[in-house]
C-alpha cells in the first residue's frame, strides 16, 4: 500500500497544556509506519519550536530537544507559517535550527523547517489524507 500523507497540526504553546508533548509522542511513533509525514506549526504552535527554552523554573521537563531528533526519523517537513510568527513578533531566527541528513546527497545537512505563507500552508493542508490535530 502506498504511504498515506499524514499531517500533525500544532496550534498550541508548550507547557501550559500537555498537547504539544503528547503530539510529539504521536509524531515519533508515526515514523515507524513509513508514512509521508508533515508537521504544521500555526498560531501558538510556533512557540513549540522556539530556541532557548528553559523549564528550570516551572518544574517540567524541557522536551524541545526532541524536535531536533525528528530529522533522524526522516520526519523533515516542518511547515511553519510566516504570518503566525509575525503576529507574535517572531522571526525564523527565534526558532531552533532543525535539520536532517539527506542519505541520497552524501548525508548533507538540510533544513527541516519550511517557512510558508498562509496560502501556501492552506495548499499543504489540502494535500493531506489524514490530519490529526491536538
Amino acid at each position: 500500500m502506498a504511504a498515506k500523507k499524514f499531517m500533525f497540526v500544532n496550534r498550541k504553546a508548550p507547557y501550559g497544556t500537555v498537547y504539544a508533548l503528547e503530539s510529539l509522542e504521536v509524531v515519533l511513533i508515526s515514523a515507524a509506519f513509513e508514512q509521508d509525514v508533515s508537521l504544521a506549526f500555526i498560531d501558538d504552535g510556533v512557540y513549540q519550536i522556539t530556541k532557548g527554552q528553559n523549564t528550570d523554573g516551572i518544574g517540567q521537563k524541557n522536551f524541545s530537544n526532541t524536535y531536533k531528533a525528528l530529522g533522524d526519523y526522516e520526519i523533515n517537513k516542518l511547515y511553519v507559517e510566516k504570518e503566525s510568527l509575525e503576529e507574535r513578533g517572531l522571526t525564523q531566527d527565534d526558532l531552533m535550527d532543525l535539520v536532517w541528513e539527506d542519505e541520497d546527497d552524501d548525508w548533507a545537512e538540510k533544513p527541516s523547517i519550511i517557512l510558508v505563507d498562509r496560502s501556501e500552508m492552506a495548499d499543504v493542508m489540502a494535500e493531506q489524507e489524514v490530519t490529526l490535530s491536538f
Binding site: 499524514f6 503528547e22 515507524a32 509506519f33 489524514v130 490529526l132 490535530s133
Partner: protein, 130 residues
Amino acid sequence: MKFTIMINEGPYQHQSADSALQFCRAVLAQGHEIFRVFFYHDGVNNGSSLSVPPGDDRLIQKEWSELSKENDLDLVICIAAAQRRGLMDEDEAKRQGFESNNMIDGFRISGLGQLIEGGIESDRTVVFGD
C-alpha cells in the same frame, strides 16, 4: 466507508466526548464501519469504571461500554496517556504492582501505533477534542 475516531478530552469537562459518542452512533446507523475509536490525552478518562455522576446525568463511560458491546467496537486507550493519568486495566495494574484497576469493560489498552494504523486503514479519520 471505514472510520477511525480520535478523542482527546475526557467526559464532562468538555463536550467532545458527547459529540464523539453521537457521531459514532450516527456513523453506525448509516451502515458505515468504525475501524477503531482511539482515546488520547485526557480522553483516556472515557474508559474509567469509577465515575459516579448524579443520578439524573448521563454516564458517558457506560455509554461507550454499551456501544462497544452492541457493535463490537474497538475502543483503544493509549497506554502512555493512561499511565500518566492513572487509568489501567487488570493486566497493566498487575504489571505496575497496583492492587486495583479502573478500566470499564469494552475498552482495551494499547500503544499509539494503533492510532496511526487507524489512519492508514480507514477512509476517514475524525478528531474530537478541545
